[in-house]
Symmetry: C2
């Protein structure tokens, strides 16, 4: 599969795919002419990356996870990092939830004022 199709099917830009490669997240093969050739599961991988990016993981962290995604095993450092990230995400969710509550307060206060 060439880069354009991966982009369409995974919903990211061609530029983003080349960026992921630059960050070591994808290592597609090359055609005789030098064009990138992706395996079928590249689309799923990219979707997974997007999910992690959306949770605030930087490329470096995702790269560190790659071996444990591929092998299904983790080293001590990887487990520590995973736990740290999970904790960070939990705290982020708490922060978001708190902010949401504050916005809700604002809306309700204004609604009460109108009533």
């Amino acid at each position: 599969m060439r880069i354009g199709e991966v982009a369409r099917r995974s919903g990211v830009s061609v530029r983003a795919l080349r960026y992921y490669e630059e960050q070591g997240l994808l290592t597609p093969g090359r055609s005789p002419g030098g064009q990138r050739e992706y395996p079928e599961d590249a689309v799923d991988r990219v979707r997974f990356f997007q999910q992690l990016y959306a949770a605030g993981l930087p490329s470096r962290r995702i790269a560190e996870l790659l071996p444990c995604i591929d092998t299904g095993t983790t080293t001590v450092e990887q487990r520590a990092m995973l736990d740290a990230e999970r904790e960070r995400i939990r705290k982020q969710i708490d922060g978001y939830t708190a902010a949401l509550a504050r916005l809700d307060e604002l809306v309700e206060a204004a609604a009460a004022r109108r009533a």
Copy 2:
């Protein structure tokens, strides 16, 4: 209160406070010598800003909320914006939750492999 104390008590940098002012979020008075003079409630306001920043609201949006924070009322546009932001935050939380689940899967899969 001068800027340094506000910074210490709210936990943000002096630079950040000046930046907030630049964005129209704070408008402290000035001493005869030109130094910023903040009211007592500035600390709480700053903490609130931090909470909204943490939830992904940009300065512009926070600035748009200021009048409705101060007056306790909202215009039609503000209510629409508030709803949009709340929706965005909810989706963000969903995204984070999904990513968290994926990381949990990784950890459990690796744990099972070790067992």
